[in-house]
Amino acid sequence: MTLTHLLVFSATALLAGVLVKERGRGWMLLVGSLLAIYWMQPASPIRNLDFWLPSATVAVAVIGWAATRSGEDERSRENLISGIVIALVVIAVGLTRYLEPLCCLTPTRPPQATQIIIAIIFTGVLIALIAWFFPKRGILLNLLFFSIIAIFLVLKTEGLAQAASAWLRTQTRQSTNLASGLDIGWLGFSYVAFRLLHTLRDRLTGRLPDVSLQEFVIYVIFFPAFTAGPIDRLQRFIKDLRKSFNLGSPEMVSGARRILVGVFKKFVLADSLALVALNQTNASQTSSTFWMWVLLYAYTFRIYFDFSGYTDIAIGIGQLLGFQLPENFTQPYLKTNLTAFWNSWHITLAKWFRAYFFNPLTRFLRSRQNKLPLPIIILISQISTMVLLGLWHGVTWNFVIWGAWHGFGLFIHNRWAEFAASRNSAPQSPGIQKLYNWSGIFLTFNFVALGWVWFFLPTPSLAWRTLQTLAGI
């Protein structure tokens, strides 16, 4: 999201809050979000891909709705209209190729209208076939669940992404020699995937409320949270969507304040720190232990201000639109232990993994006939959850190590907390408690900071060399 995006989104949200009345709110959010995802999509060297990727996001969202909706069609007319509106918006974005002064919302010229119409018809037929061939929803939901994970794997694995790029280049009759894993920059797919996986799982467990096509698509591609979260739950999101909302001064002040804080964090602090933050190039240029720590701390704060700044902006714009998106960061670097850190860093992602991986896995391990000892169950659950969370960022050894680093850290803290609780020591003096807290903050902060070395450096060998320099070796 650039400053221009931000300015336009904020102004649109303000205008919409003032001008759009109750009934038009849903349509405004639907059309606004659809246009926004095309506008934000970065350019791709593969012909027309920067049009097809947001279109695929829309298609996946619509298919997701079709798969998760209940059999009753109380709002079939409204859903039909929503489907037509979505199709018309996609066509309209494509038609900008013929309107020179307006061309184009997408970074490059969209494909021909006939191709777009064929793609829309294809999606419609696909949805009909799905409904026809999968009367038993369970199989369909599981199929979609694993399809999304498969797409995710392709996008996050360099070799597979490169192969996919080569295949796409062949389809567009472009040279495959230049194929790169970076060609398929599918904006927002990670967050779209999390939202869809959540709805698919909740439908399987019967916890998903019935929502209209319009509501579902807005939830999946809600533009303030499209690129960097937070990952809201559908159950909570639709409460805000369905409630009556009139933009008043409190929301305006609160939203504007949050946006300004976010802009300052992202575009002033994070972008300035980016100039001096540790990266692949300067990690190999720096040999001084002191300066290496300085660069590492710069990165540590940069990633926080960058990410939490985006979240502030998303929450601020959300407030202007009448949504109270969930918090994602609550002073994570001031936490006294790693468990508290992960309860305050990228909270919605951590909650997602807890709900859909950690808890089911722990339940499974505990319910086995050959029960494992509790510490082993905790160790397995913590490490596998964190490794998976690492792999979400990319399928590389460094992300695996980063995940394992935090998994072990969480396990060790869990055991320490258990041990400390079992000793049941007498209350400590405030001075000792303060010292204990500050030590905890210091240790946790530096543990997390050292973990970032694995996170942002591309190879284990470079990360290891960097850690050696940090240790003065």
């Binding site: 001064s249 409190p250 305006m252 002040v253 300035s272 300067n282 240029q285 300066w291 290496m292 300085v294």
Partner: protein, 394 residues
């Protein structure tokens, strides 16, 4: 009563009027600040506030970069900020220091060379001591654009740092009048350059369109936002300079100097008949020597690449037809003798295979050879008490 006043007022819900007042006041304050900024022009003052030589070590050469994020440096036009970042500003002159300032183009600055591979670095590595027991300490004030006026601007500013000698490396390409206002550093310091033009009666048009004269609006915070952001970024890059010692992105691949040429002997608008003291900016060189006053200026004709390719009987290299460069050398020799300048001509000191990507950029080993010669000359001059001006050519 006092206690009552300290009691916090209950929070009032924000209303439209409150928001309007905030916006109006913020806008008025912003306009006022911009107007004050434009009137006061505090950029030179701000340039003096520097983390270099305080938090970070001073830079060993003036900031210049075409790839800021990779070089951890950027090109500024603010002379105060440029000098404030230089180690020269942080090193108080010691009693036993013989301070040498090197001025010149990219060759002196050290294009494609690390800070340890520049002329200055090699002179300092030699640990020279003058006959009077002073330690020779050289400072690199080269800047990668070719213009004698740019050199004069730097020399003028550098005089406050108490040099014992100024070594000014020149080449013919820095003399044509067309080149004098060519560099952005000169164009963006119009007042200083006009002042030099007036003071030394230079043959440069003070009303040239090349000068960037900022309007009132361009002097506001909005108008100067790039300059302000650059100042801030430059301070941040100090951290990277301290951490890595890198101040230039050095590409591993580059094109070597051109060897073969068209049969073209033109050089700007000059001809063998018209190339004279008054047709090129010898007056700027003379102004620099005058500006240095009591401080001796050693003028050096820097080495050039001498091609042996097609039409090399007509041209020495991409820059110079033979007739022009030969005439220039003769002219400089005559000027030095006539005016009593300390002059040394090292034009053919370096073999052709020791040039990197242009006719004046040298490899580290070639730079070391030139540094050795300059070091010897400085010592000779110091030993003679700066009496001899009869330093001939190589």
């Amino acid at each position: 009563m006092a206690q009552e006043n300290l009691t916090p007022k209950p929070d009032k819900p924000a209303n439209g009027r409150f928001i309007r007042n905030v916006i109006v006041k913020a806008f008025l304050l912003f306009v006022l600040l911009n107007a004050l900024f434009a009137a006061a022009n505090p950029l030179p003052l701000l340039g003096r506030i520097s983390a270099y030589n305080l938090v970070f070590p001073g830079r060993v050469r003036l900031p210049y970069s075409e790839n800021p994020t990779q070089a951890y440096s950027l090109s500024l036009f603010n002379l105060e900020a440029m000098f404030a970042s230089h180690e020269l500003a942080g090193n108080a002159k010691a009693e036993d220091e013989f301070r040498v300032l090197l001025i010149g183009d990219s060759s002196t600055w050290g294009f494609l060379a690390t800070p340890q591979e520049t002329l200055t670095a090699y002179i300092n590595d030699a640990d020279l001591v003058t006959e009077s027991g002073k330690y020779v300490r050289a400072y690199n004030l080269g800047y990668p654009t070719i213009s004698l006026t740019k050199d004069l601007l730097i020399l003028d500013h550098a005089m406050q740092y108490q040099p014992d000698i100024i070594v000014w490396l020149v080449t013919l390409e820095s003399f044509p009048f067309e080149k004098q206002l060519f560099t952005p550093l000169v164009q963006n310091n119009p007042e200083r350059i006009r002042s030099l033009i007036n003071e030394y009666d230079l043959n440069i048009n003070p009303d040239s369109d090349a000068f960037v004269d900022a309007s009132f609006w361009e002097r506001t915070i909005i108008g100067q936002r790039r300059a302000l952001a650059d100042l801030l970024r430059f301070q941040l890059y100090g951290l990277m300079w301290a951490a890595t010692g890198v101040d230039q992105y050095i590409s591993t691949s580059y094109d070597p100097p051109q060897i073969d040429f068209e049969a073209d002997e033109s050089y700007y608008e000059l001809t063998p008949e018209t190339l004279s003291q008054s047709s090129i900016a010898v007056d700027v060189l003379a102004a620099g020597i005058t500006r240095a006053g009591e401080v001796p200026v050693l003028v050096i004709n820097e080495p050039i690449f001498i091609s042996d390719g097609v039409n090399s009987h007509l041209r020495y290299n991409f820059f110079y037809p033979r007739w022009a460069f030969d005439a220039y050398r003769q002219l400089m020799e005559n000027q030095a003798l006539a005016n009593g300048w300390f002059y040394r001509d090292y034009w053919n000191l370096i073999p052709a295979d020791e040039f990197t990507n242009s006719a004046i950029h040298m490899t580290p080993s070639a730079t070391a050879i030139l540094a050795s010669e300059i070091g010897k000359t400085i010592q000779e001059l110091a030993e003679s008490g700066f009496q001899s001006s009869t330093l001939g050519s190589e």
